[in-house]
Symmetry: C2
């Protein structure tokens, strides 16, 4: 098993909530688990650090990222900026074929609602929304920021209780795309993301139910 595969496996575990934010990853343990030496494990950890999944300080143990409230707030501000712009670009380029792909992604996420695959399907839907923008780098940034959020959501055990509301947002986003209503789509998306932000913020350890307060 090579560094890439190890990184992918670890990332799946981390975004799935098997490790919570701040938890340590020891090279030796991981090497044993995958039956390799520590060298490819080190490479894998570097890759995860590059993807923003773990934090790596020389001579210290690797840790799953753990963001403060204000850091999470900035991440969501960046998501609002990048995803809104991406959606605008996307709608401007959107063909009927793209609409079809979004419809399929919506149906798929409908099936996976309330299951453990929800997060994956949710991302697939948004990716289908953003892909027509033809902005691969921007899309990668968005995916990375979303992964950051997901690690915290999974790590703090936030259940997908509001899945219905989110599915509803998705359906309305699709409608806005069908009619090429840029502003309407961006409005829906903005509320969608702000909603997710507040859900996460109020579940943060230390802050008890303070939806978007201090910064």
């Amino acid at each position: 098993m090579s560094a890439d595969k190890i990184a992918d496996a670890l990332e799946t575990d981390i975004v799935g909530g098997a490790y919570h934010p701040g938890e340590e990853l020891k090279q030796g343990k991981i090497a044993d688990r995958f039956s390799v030496s520590r060298i490819p494990v080190r490479d894998a950890l570097q890759l995860l650090a590059a993807r923003g999944v773990i934090e790596l300080v020389p001579n210290k143990r690797a840790r799953v990222i753990s963001l403060s409230a204000s850091e999470i707030d900035e991440v969501y501000a960046l998501r609002l900026l990048l995803e809104s712009d991406c959606l605008r670009q996307s709608i401007q380029n959107m063909t009927d074929i793209d609409i079809g792909a979004i419809e399929r992604a919506l149906a798929h996420s409908d099936i996976d609602a309330k299951t453990e695959r929800w997060a994956d399907s949710d991302w697939e839907f948004h990716e289908s929304l953003y892909r027509p923008s033809k902005r691969p780098r921007q899309l990668a940034m968005i995916e990375s920021l979303r992964k950051t959020c997901r690690i915290h959501i999974a790590g703090y055990g936030i259940l997908p209780s509001r899945t219905e509301g989110w599915l509803d947002d998705h359906a309305r986003l699709l409608d806005a795309c069908r009619s090429r209503s840029e502003n309407q789509a961006v409005n829906i998306l903005t509320r969608h993301i702000e909603n997710a932000r507040d859900t996460l913020m109020s579940a943060l350890p230390g802050t008890d139910s303070a939806p978007h307060g201090q910064a």
Copy 2:
């Protein structure tokens, strides 16, 4: 010499134009140069890949990034989005102390105009503009995108011939900050960045003087 230092030294060389886009970096050569084994060199290369300075594919040689015209176009689109937003946030938080820091950075970049230190001073000025935004993550993204541009500018041997115009833009940006004119500042910044983009695009190998054409 450890991985961090090696990465920093290599990055300085690359953004300084010692390597041009697409050029190969061989682990063995670098290891000899710094009198270490290939292990810390590999770590350094991973760090540079994480910073977006080189491209790293398993079993292949490391290469300095080399972006196509459309990729560079996307990078500038992202810069326009992120830097404009950052400047707005910054001006909203800006104190007189911050203004003073911008004034000093402007004076410093004035001194370094037309020297090889221009690029560093230019970044210092923009950093002083953006720092009051209190968006460290957004600032890091901007710095990374700018570094990407700088690698290509340096690698294709674009001389700082238009430095006076850019210094003028900086002075006008400072004025706009003094009067807290968000829109005016963003307008100046937008033209400033678009100007730099067109300068780079028309110097790209393969495209001869086509300022912002196909995408």
